[in-house]
């Protein structure tokens, strides 16, 4: 029994880290642009396709495939901010609806271009590490290590570079940041582009685990949404805590009580948090 407890905790931490990469971009976009970006899952999907074509079709090395997904998403994200989201700045509801429309468009374009059938993304590694009966699938360890590197780079960028500070200033207060010389016109596209790029890299990393098809974006979007509601919209430390919490709850309750119970517990927690702390665990109250 204690073996099962440890195994499910390990599974939960892995799952939490997978959710984190997705949730960080989602919460960043909300923090900067005040847009609940429902197209976030579709950037995940496009990243998965980009990795598939670079790695499985063109035969490029995997890091190059991930970098390609990153670069492509940066450009696409910046263009989309300019074309789709700019007119809705400061209008949260219209921005959200535009993002739903964008999600539908991207998903159906992918459906037309790539067809509905799941594509074959070869695994990078197979097998599992076995540490005294505790099993760590190698494919997940690779994804986790990759995610941690990306999150570390992202953290450094956000905390210790001029641009990162400007982005954080924008999250805290747009007008004051603008008054201090933060170039809002550059930072908005950059914010969405970074959010999209994080999602695309999550897609590229998880494609070997969860497959590639036009419909793969839905589940990660839902998980990111739950994480961000729990952690607080716009709060990055909140996203870290909430994704770990979500991963651990899903894993332990699924293992000991079944999948339906896991869903009940997760959503009960979401409701409880919303009742007690409407802005999430570490969210800021609306000004």
């Amino acid at each position: 029994m204690s073996f099962l407890i440890i195994q499910s905790l390990v599974n939960g931490v892995i799952l939490g880290l997978l959710y984190l990469l997705m949730a960080i971009g989602f919460t960043l976009v909300f923090g900067i642009m005040r847009v609940v970006n429902f197209a976030h899952g579709e950037f995940y999907m496009l990243g998965a396709f980009a990795a598939y074509f670079a790695f499985a079709v063109a035969g490029l090395p995997y890091p190059v495939a991930v970098a390609g997904a990153f670069g492509g998403a940066i450009v696409l994200g910046a263009i989309i901010e300019r074309v789709v989201f700019r007119p809705f700045r400061g209008d949260e509801l219209s921005g959200m609806i535009a993002s739903i429309g964008l999600a539908l468009i991207l998903q159906n374009l992918a459906l037309i271009a790539f067809g509905p059938d799941p594509l074959s993304m070869p695994s990078l590694v197979s097998g599992a590490y076995n540490w005294g009966g505790i099993i760590l699938p190698k494919s997940r360890v690779v994804v986790i290590l990759g995610s941690m590197v990306i999150l570390a780079i992202f953290y450094y960028f956000l905390m210790h570079t001029r641009t990162g500070r400007a982005l954080r200033a924008l999250v805290q207060d747009r007008e004051i940041a603008a008054a201090y010389g933060v170039r809002v016109e550059l930072m908005y596209p950059l914010g969405l582009a970074l959010g999209a790029a994080l999602a695309a890299m999550a897609g590229a990393f998880m494609a070997p685990l969860f497959g590639v098809s036009p419909f793969v974006g839905g589940t990660p979007l839902l998980k990111a949404f739950i994480v961000v509601i729990l952690g607080g919209l716009g709060s990055i430390p909140g996203a870290v805590i909430a994704s770990m919490l979500l991963g651990l709850i899903e894993s332990t309750t699924s293992t000991f009580f079944g999948a339906s119970t896991a869903d009940i517990v997760v959503f009960a927690l979401v409701i409880a948090v919303l009742l007690v702390r409407p802005s999430g665990l570490l969210g800021h109250k609306e000004a």
Binding site: L4, Q7, S8, N11, G12, I14, L15, L18, D117, P118, L119, S120, M121, P122, S123, S126, G127, A128, N130, I135, P137, K138, S139, R140, L209, F210, G211, S213, V216, G218, T219, L222, E250, S251, T252, S254, T255, F256, G258, A259, S260, A262, D263
Partner: protein, 392 residues
């Protein structure tokens, strides 16, 4: 082989370039409806059925028409799309039966559509050939409905019996989607394993949008099962389960009872994880007749063939043979009886007869050979040949 492909090419070219038959001006027209799904989900099945019918009809038309009761008829296939929906199937059936006045319908693809059109077709004595898997499609009160393909009800037990015995399986774990379909399949499959002498010792249900199965698989593996059954899951989900089970070190057998899905599962899981999986196979690609059909089909229509297509090619041909034996295209009661009495028909799939008296109360269910295959390097390799009685 060369001869066959040349022949196929010639037939394909003939179909492609044939002008309206000028030699057969005096021929009458035999209208056959194809009420199938041509758009949305299920379209690949519907297309396979329609084109199988067209291919069967074109064979007769090439030869100058089909002779029934001293008359010669050109066969005309009239196709309607039901979008896999019951209400659209009903309006299409109304048009086919009352406007086009067809007496024979190939279709429908779905279960709900066939149940919806049967009040029309059975009342008017229109013979239908459906793919619908529902057990209610066939009954003594519906004497004009036939099913030329096998369903899970036919194939599950023989396949499970064989796998359980040959692999020495005692306990089985399974994951099913948490809905009506999943629960029904869980019940059926558990009963089948019990009859085969194994126990379904760990059953888990999950929501359909779930993609991470590691926690549930951990739970199933902690029960120490010998095998994991994938029946009831979409090909994509089944592929994810296979991959994740192998990822966390599951070494037992993985079994997929039910519909053809091997290619998609291998795509998602990867050939390495899928290696050694036991799957249901409807076709034996090493059989010459099957190969010839696939080649001819792909050359004629220039896209790949759906696995159900040959069942409907054989089914349509059995129907045409029944008309010839009954000597009429008008009296569908006589045609139906002639069709029922066809035995050991030599089709593309092998030897075909009708069965189903015990299960449905009427012998309108095809009895065709099928296979248990094992995945080797991402491809199916036949390991057992089965019929409804069992596998060997």
């Amino acid at each position: 082989m060369k001869f066959k492909s040349t022949l196929a090419l010639a037939v394909g070219a003939a179909i492609a370039f044939s002008a309206p038959p000028t030699v057969a001006q005096e021929n009458k027209t035999l209208k056959v409806g194809a009420l199938v799904t041509l758009s949305g989900a299920g379209a690949s099945w519907g297309r396979g059925m329609l084109e199988a019918t067209e291919l069967a009809a074109s064979k007769y038309n090439e030869a100058g028409g089909i002779e029934v009761g001293g008359e010669t008829y050109d066969i005309e296939v009239i196709a309607y799309d039901d979008s896999y929906k019951a209400n659209e199937a009903v309006s299409a059936a109304n048009r086919l039966v009352y406007d086009d006045e067809v007496k024979y319908i190939i279709g429908t693809v779905g279960s709900a559509p066939i149940l919806a059109i049967q009040p029309i077709t059975e009342k008017e004595g229109v013979i239908t050939m459906t793919l619908g898997f529902t057990s209610e499609a066939l009954s003594p009160e519906k004497p004009y409905t036939f099913r030329p393909n096998l369903t899970t009800a036919e194939v599950a037990q023989p396949q499970i019996d064989w796998v359980v015995e040959s692999q020495g399986i005692e306990t089985v774990g399974a994951l099913f989607p948490n809905d009506e379909t999943g629960e029904q399949i869980a019940k059926d499959v558990s009963a089948s394993y019990e009859r085969a002498g194994a126990e379904m010792s760990a059953i888990e249900f999950f929501e359909r949008d779930q993609v991470d199965f590691v926690p549930l698989l951990t739970r199933i593996m902690s029960e120490g099962v010998d095998a994991i059954e994938l029946d009831g899951n979409s090909p994509e989900t089944a592929g994810q389960i296979v991959q994740q089970a192998r990822d966390i070190g599951f070494e037992g057998a993985i079994i997929r009872t039910g519909g053809p899905a091997t290619a998609e599962i291998v795509n998602v899981a990867g050939a390495e994880a899928a290696e050694g999986m036991f799957v249901h196979a409807g076709l034996d690609p090493s059989k010459d007749s099957v190969n010839a059909y696939i080649t001819e089909y792909e050359e004629t229509f220039e896209h790949s063939m759906n696995g159900f297509s040959p069942f409907f090619y054989d089914g349509a041909n059995m129907l045409f043979q029944a008309m010839q034996e009954a000597g009429t295209v008008e009296d569908t009661d006589a045609v139906r009886k002639a069709l029922e009495s066809i035995e050991s028909y030599e089709g593309v799939l092998g030897e075909l007869s009708w069965t189903g008296e015990d299960r449905y109360g009427i012998a309108h269910q095809i009895d065709a050979p099928f296979y248990v295959a094992q995945v080797r390097d991402g491809k199916e390799e036949i390991v057992a040949t089965c019929d409804i009685e069992g596998c060997e």
